[in-house]
Symmetry: C2
Subunit: 322 residues, 2 copies
């Protein structure tokens, strides 16, 4: 495990299991602490070796799999090192903080010939997965328009989020999930993006951006919008208010409040969620050559690239063509 600043806890089982030996842990960013994760692993019954330098860890431990979860703006160099060490890489998003870095990562992945997935955890969420399945079954016909929403509580945020270099940006950190939903549920291909952002409500007024919008043109005259904010009130029933609305030629589907609503010629329906899945178990199976997890390396790259272009659009005020 390299870093523990994002969602790497999804990799950690409730008790020691043979398929997952957490052999070693190290921070992946300067100033990052992995003490909490180390403690948790020991509580469960693992005995990870602890390193100050993750490169030394990769050299000495020669792990099969690297979980990359350092500061959000600094995943790229760590992923490159992990591929160079021949690892399968399970990485927090965004994979890269810039397009050049993303290309290097794609090349490194090709060279390594190992498995790669970004932590697009919603693909293993029972409501979102059910929605995707319904769309595949034709429940809304041909998808024409999508509206994605991410709304988070601000809560207590780590210091590294107050600088773009270590944070990466709200669109690549939060918005990227909405981008992934849009790609996943439409099977579609973005052709341009225009975006807006504001850090007016950040404690330092600079970073992180607390509100953002992105508007996408897609192939075949389809389109999508994304709204992101950190203004979900503390008293809200859940941390996130995640939504996707998928408008098709024959129906409208929504995920909201952790459930699915489908409206088509049969009227309003509330299909049951599928069970939540175990993303990391699927990834490990894929790495072992058994099956595939629900997001490919290519899809991870596509969502990352889109998020980086959307961030560039927001930074520049320009419409960016893909």
């Amino acid at each position: 495990m390299i870093g523990a600043s994002g969602h790497s806890d999804i990799c950690v089982p409730d008790s020691v299991c043979q398929e997952r030996n957490f052999a070693a842990i190290a921070p992946g960013s300067l100033g990052e602490s992995v003490a909490g994760m180390e403690r948790r692993l020991r509580e469960i019954g693992y005995s990870p070796n602890v390193y100050a330098d993750y490169r030394e860890m990769l050299r000495k431990e020669k792990p099969d799999v690297a979980v990359v979860d350092n500061f959000y703006g600094e995943h790229g160099p760590v992923i490159l090192d992990a591929f160079a060490a021949g690892c399968h890489v399970f990485a927090e998003k965004p994979a890269a903080a810039g397009l050049e870095q993303l290309e290097l990562i794609q090349e490194a992945w090709h060279r390594a010939g190992t498995s790669f997935a970004g932590m697009f955890t919603y693909r293993y969420d029972g409501a979102f997965y059910r929605a995707w399945q319904l769309i595949q079954e034709g429940a809304v016909g041909s998808v024409r328009l999508l509206n994605a929403q991410k709304s988070y509580k601000y809560g207590t945020r780590p210091d590294f989020m107050s600088r773009r270099e270590t944070y990466g940006g709200t669109i690549p950190w939060v918005g990227i999930h909405g981008i992934d939903w849009i790609l996943w549920m439409s099977g579609g291909c973005f052709t341009s993006v225009t975006a807006v952002q504001s850090a007016a409500e950040a404690p330092n007024g600079v970073c992180p951006e607390t509100t953002a919008l992105a508007q996408f043109r897609m192939k075949d005259d389809r389109m999508a919008s994304l709204t992101v904010d950190y203004l979900n009130p503390e008293a809200a029933p859940s941390h996130g208010d995640d939504r996707i609305r998928v408008v098709g030629t024959d129906g409208v589907l929504e995920v909201r409040d952790n459930g699915v609503t489908l409206l088509n010629s049969r009227g309003v329906q509330h299909p049951q969620n599928l069970p939540d899945g175990d993303f990391f178990a699927d990834f490990l199976a894929q790495a072992a050559g058994k099956g595939k997890c629900r997001i490919s390396a290519e899809e991870t790259f596509a969502a990352t690239r889109t998020a980086l272009l959307a961030q560039r659009a927001a930074d520049s005020g320009e419409t960016i063509c893909f």
Copy 2:
């Protein structure tokens, strides 16, 4: 009454009332029929004179008030004629089909010195009005981000909607309501707009546009998004699925399914709707110098201008600055 192709039925009471004598009716567009409205007025007990030429009607009848409701892309010239005849004008939106025409209307209104309001009917809807009131009371703090949604059933549409000249466009016809909500609920000022549209699902593939998105930058680093579609399924519980989400520094408010949800430090609340109001009664009172209706001429102009600029943005693919 000039034309009856939009929502002029909101002006018609259930039974004859002294304050409203529907003295005369004429079509306002070539090929428009007002027979249905004429029949309705007679059923109630009015005896309107019927004219083929609304200009002749204005000259002969010298009405106090003109209700303008001809084809959606052709309101402008009729409004200009009504102001020239010294009328108070209650007009279906959009007031104009182009910016030059809108300026002429503003000048004509100044010269006439009469009352003017666009049929922004949601200002008299008990859910939307309650939402606006709560925002005025500070329920969400300072407004930072707004997401507006209009979704209509396609149903059976009149022929004049299949041509841009007579229709005007989906953004100025449908989207304009969302634009008005954004202006109304934020008190804000747009600075730029980017928009996308597609007529792929229109029967003739050209007009009306069946999906559209617009993204707005606003003063003080605020922002808003608008999504519009004609793909609300026939089996949907209501014709429209109208929503506004207002995200503020201290809370989030939504209108959805004809009700208000407020989420702030007091948790999730469902404030009761206010009663629906009688827009036209208020307008007539304002015309008589008694009080004000809930939308001013200036606000009508602002929403119209914004919709026309958004339409231009969608047509050109350019970001338009205000």
